[in-house]
């Protein structure tokens, strides 16, 4: 299967500061991909590189199988992009914005957008600058969808929205994703935003990719172990421990493991996605590939 996104030792530097570094990543087609990371982790940089808005300082990136800078037109016509803060031409009416989209694209399904706008109660004659933040985000999403894209890229689409608007945006997004069967890449620094509908997760932290995996795999390969703190050292020799929480003699370990843990000394529980993500974000140096010596040192 073709990957929607392929990065190989991708890096982008501004002056002396690397916004993204050594990013090697494959995102397969057909998933709803959450791109998680704290503010400044390089999420926007990665997405802008993927959209050809930036040019890599080093490495390569291929979006939908092609270089997004050299083949900008072929690539961009197949992607719907909603950028951070969902910019719109503020003096345009909603209708103008749709006409604009139609002029700027070859494929354009205005009927779909009109129908959905009516359903959402967004008036066509309103200036986009006077719409509420939530309506602006919805309009931006519909503009991206009207391109009839294969891939939808959303950069922090809900960051500036209040809880109600966020909920409505999620409803619309879920609805269209199911209806059109799109591959979606959605970035956020709020894990709970993504937990509910992502089935693939990429964790970016400190300008590097830490995890790129399906949510199922992630949940299967990470477990919470609850037991005596004494035994933590023993288990660290065979398993990768991501996080240790100690409460008197009792401790809770977040462990990355491929095998089943049958040791009766430990009470094994499923880890929540949020636990896993936070553990990776809290330890920017740890990744799935790291060796065990470091883990041992961390415990001792």
């Amino acid at each position: 299967m073709v990957n929607v996104l392929e990065a190989s030792s991708l890096g982008k530097r501004y002056g002396h500061k690397w916004a993204l570094r050594d990013c090697t990543l494959q995102i397969p087609t057909g998933y709803i991909v959450g791109l998680v990371g704290p503010n400044g982790a390089g999420k926007t940089t990665l997405l802008h590189l993927a959209m050809g808005l930036l040019k890599p300082t080093q490495g390569t990136i291929r979006t939908l199988g092609a270089d997004p800078v050299k083949n900008a037109r072929q690539v961009l016509s197949r992607i719907g992009f909603v950028s951070q803060e969902h910019p719109l031409y503020k003096t345009f009416t909603v209708k103008d914005m749709l006409t604009w989209g139609g002029k700027m694209n070859l494929r354009w399904s205005e009927d779909m957008a009109l129908k959905r706008l009516e359903h959402l109660g967004i008036p066509l004659r309103q200036q986009t600058g006077r719409l509420s933040g939530g309506q602006q985000a919805q309009l931006a999403l519909l503009l991206a969808l009207a391109k009839q894209p294969e891939l939808l890229v959303l950069d922090e689409p809900m960051a500036s929205l209040d809880p109600l608007a966020r909920h409505e945006f999620q409803l619309l997004l879920k609805d269209v994703v199911v209806e059109y069967g799109l591959t979606v890449i959605i970035s956020s620094h709020i894990v709970s935003d993504l937990e509910r509908f992502c089935d693939y997760l990429v964790i970016l932290s400190a300008s590097r990719v830490q995890i790129s995996s399906t949510v199922d795999q992630l949940l299967q390969s990470h477990k919470l172990l609850i037991g005596s703190y004494e035994k933590a050292k023993t288990i660290a020799q065979t398993q990768t421990i991501l996080q240790t929480r100690r409460n008197a003699e009792q401790c809770t370990l977040l462990v990355q493991t491929q095998n089943l843990i049958v040791d009766p000394a430990w009470n094994v529980q499923a880890a929540s996605l949020e636990d896993i993500v936070l553990a990776y974000l809290a330890q920017p140096t740890v990744s799935m590939q790291n060796n065990k010596e470091e883990q041992l040192e961390a415990i001792q």
């Binding site: 050809g52 808005l53 700027m104 694209n105 503009l143 391109k147």
Partner: protein, 337 residues
Amino acid sequence: MIWTTWRQHRTELLITGTVLLLVLLILLMTGITIAGESSRTGFAACLARQADCSLSPAQSAVENFIQNQAFGNSTFYTLFQLALLALPLAVGMFVGAHMVAREYEEGTYRLAWTQSISRSRWLLVKVALLMGLLLVASGILCAAFSWWKIPVVAATSGLWGSTNYDVWSIVAIPYTLFSLMLGICTGTLVRKTVPAMAITLVVFVILRVVIEVFWRSYFLPPLVMTIPVNSTIAPPPQALVLSDTQEILDRRGNQTSLPSSVKDSCSAQISRDETPQEVSDTYNQCLAMHGFQFVTVVVYQPPDRFWLFQAIESGIYLCLTAFLFALTFWWVKYRFI
């Protein structure tokens, strides 16, 4: 893209159009009254004979009419000229500097440059359309001026006067196109509207002043005319006189300075009861006996070079415009990513 460009810039374009109509209206109204005054005083008839009508009573009457009455009063006339002088600059600051910088400031470049039209095409079409519209607008204005200015140039500013050369003639069109491109280019490089406007203002004014003051008069080597005392020859009317100096020539015709012995002996020959003309004649005859003569040396550009100079200056500005376009295009396509 045509609709897109129009929709995005319609406010600026409508203002430009309104200003254009307003100026045309003023030109029409004043042009008719000036033409009336010109024929009433006989100035038009004088011009029709292709005679030198400067310094005639008709000329001063028409000049007075233009300065003080045609525009209401002399302040309005000055303001009108200043406004026209600033018009190309305003285009660069208010249309050009906003074009790309505003997309940056509002983040809409991320929207515009991720659609199915490549950003180099986006830039190309927008620049071409705005350039085209301004070319038409400034062309119309220039054509209107070519009718309006005939009696005005003859009666007031003269051929090489700054208003005639810069505002009423063909070079105003390249000024406008250059200013637009300068605004677009600085907006692209600086990414902020207000600094881009300021840079456009400064660069445009400096360039205009430098070319006008230091370069324009020397586009071609000026002609030199040496006029002996009491001669009636003179540079052609409407010439651009760069310098007009008194010099002393020796027997071989070289410039020299007068030895003080000659100066003293000739001064001594002048008697008190002579008229100024006689004083001058006596003195010059005395100098001639010693082998010296006074001449007037005039350095000038002849009036028939006017359109050639307009073409040269237009060419300079069009080359700069092309360079700025290439820079902007390259920046948007390669540098900016």
